[in-house]
């Protein structure tokens, strides 16, 4: 599948889900509408030890399964044909990885709402810092994602204190600046 098909596919699916969200908003009463709006902004209001305990097993299993396939992810960096010639069952591996990533991401998002850019920024920062060996990149990205979220949330809590700015808003601002910087400095060409 070509990159343009994947991008166009993503845009189309994005519009479809946007239509679903708009329909939900339209059908909701005032209370539900407020909850939907807050969830869509993304934030850490729902953070509690109960949610941590609920998320932990899912995230841990997804992480361990992904981490155990680091070698296969390394093989995939040479493209489908090379990965296959290095012994990776590319179609199965890609499908399994998509399922695991979807499970992990959707489980987290269910508690926090939509917080964009972490999944793009954290691996990219780590790739610049430690290179692309997935044996180190996967755990480093997981830690970096947590760190970026923690910093953004802290900023959101103090920047207009005593009011609190949702972390999702902060992430969109930081993420936007980060990618403009990458494009500006020419490193955007290396985002693949």
């Amino acid at each position: 599948m070509s990159q343009s098909v994947i991008i166009l596919g993503g845009v189309v699916i994005g519009y479809l889900f946007q239509a679903g969200v708009t329909a939900l908003k339209y059908l909701s009463d005032d209370g539900a509408l407020r909850e939907i709006t807050v969830w869509l902004m993304g934030g850490m209001w729902g953070a509690s030890w109960t949610s941590v305990m609920l998320l932990l097993p899912i995230v841990l299993v997804c992480f361990l399964v992904t981490y155990s396939h680091s070698k296969d992810f390394n093989s995939m960096s040479g493209g489908d044909d090379v990965a296959k010639s290095l012994g990776v069952d590319v179609e199965k591996f890609r499908f399994r990885s998509l399922i695991i990533m979807t499970l992990c991401t959707s489980a987290c998002i269910a508690f926090t709402g939509i917080i964009g850019f972490i999944g793009l920024m954290a691996p990219h920062i780590c790739r610049i810092l430690i290179g692309n060996d997935q044996r180190y990149l996967i755990p480093a990205s997981a830690l970096m994602g947590g760190l970026v979220l923690l910093i953004s949330d802290s900023v959101g809590r103090v920047i207009i204190a005593p009011a609190e700015l949702p972390v999702g808003v902060i992430m969109y601002i930081i993420g936007g600046i980060f990618f403009v910087y990458l494009i500006w400095t020419g490193q955007g060409r290396r985002i693949e």
Binding site: K71, G78, S85, L86, G87, D89, G131
Partner: protein, 255 residues
């Protein structure tokens, strides 16, 4: 060990590219696949690598159907270098070549794995680039990295699809010379699609000339590469000359 093609047909959708090929390809030989664009060389290489399942007929590796051999086992026996490359930025040359050891190694590379990688880098003249990121290299240097990755896979058969296309004259000759030595010293096989007929004349033990998905001629280079066969297959008028260094082909007109 050998690869046998038995009445091999291959295609994309309803378009058949290879029409019933039969051949037996042994180790200990450099086998050059020659033919014009679209003749089916790349398709043949991909099919022999197991990347494509034949539409009919078989590819046998030592008598066993290639598709019945597990991917993990196949990766230890065949390494493939494609015509076009993709890579991840910020990957070091060392890690790219180390990926060739993936079929053999556990979680961490062993001393043996690292030695093989170091030797592969040396063979391709990449020792000094080991810690450089692959996106910082030129196209030709990158191509050498991908050949080094195939070398570190230590297979029985190397299947290369135009691996010298981005290399300058010196590295084309050096790469072929080194691959020739590896093939004969280690008794492995190299099946290589080439456009440079002079490279094939100089380094191939055997040439398979492909036209329109069929084998037009095969045998020793001096038997297969003749002015009339090149005219027939490529539609190009040539002169073949000979001096103390060997035989050379000069193209001077197209028909």
């Amino acid at each position: 060990m050998k690869i046998d093609l038995r009445n091999l047909c291959q295609g994309y959708g309803k378009t058949e590219i290879l029409h019933g090929l039969n051949a037996s390809l042994d180790t200990g030989q450099v086998i050059a696949l020659l033919g014009p664009n679209g003749s089916g060389k790349s398709t043949l290489i991909r099919t022999m690598s197991g990347l494509m399942t034949p539409t009919s007929g078989n590819v046998l590796l030592n008598g066993k159907n290639l598709q019945d051999i597990s991917l993990a086992e196949r990766a230890k026996l065949i390494s493939y270098v494609p015509q076009s490359f993709s890579y991840m930025p910020y990957t070091t040359v060392l890690n790219t070549v180390l990926a060739g050891r993936n079929p053999h190694m556990g979680w961490e590379p062993s001393e043996t794995d690292l030695n093989i990688v170091a030797r592969s880098l040396d063979i391709m003249g990449l020792g000094e680039f080991a810690e450089r990121n692959i996106n910082e290299l030129s196209g030709g240097q990158r191509q050498r990295v991908f050949i080094a990755r195939a070398l570190s896979q230590t297979p029985v058969f190397f299947l290369f699809d135009e691996p010298t296309s981005s290399l300058d004259m010196k590295y084309q000759l050096e790469t072929m010379k080194k691959m020739y030595s590896i093939v004969h010293d280690q008794n492995v096989g190299l099946i290589i699609a080439l456009h440079d007929i002079n490279l094939a004349m100089r380094y191939a033990d055997r040439v398979i000339l492909v036209r329109n998905g069929r084998i037009f001629a095969e045998g020793a280079p001096y038997q297969v590469i003749t002015e009339s066969s090149i005219l027939n297959v490529y539609g190009v008028k040539t002169t073949i000359t000979e001096n103390e260094h060997g035989r050379f082909i000069l193209a001077y007109d197209s028909v």
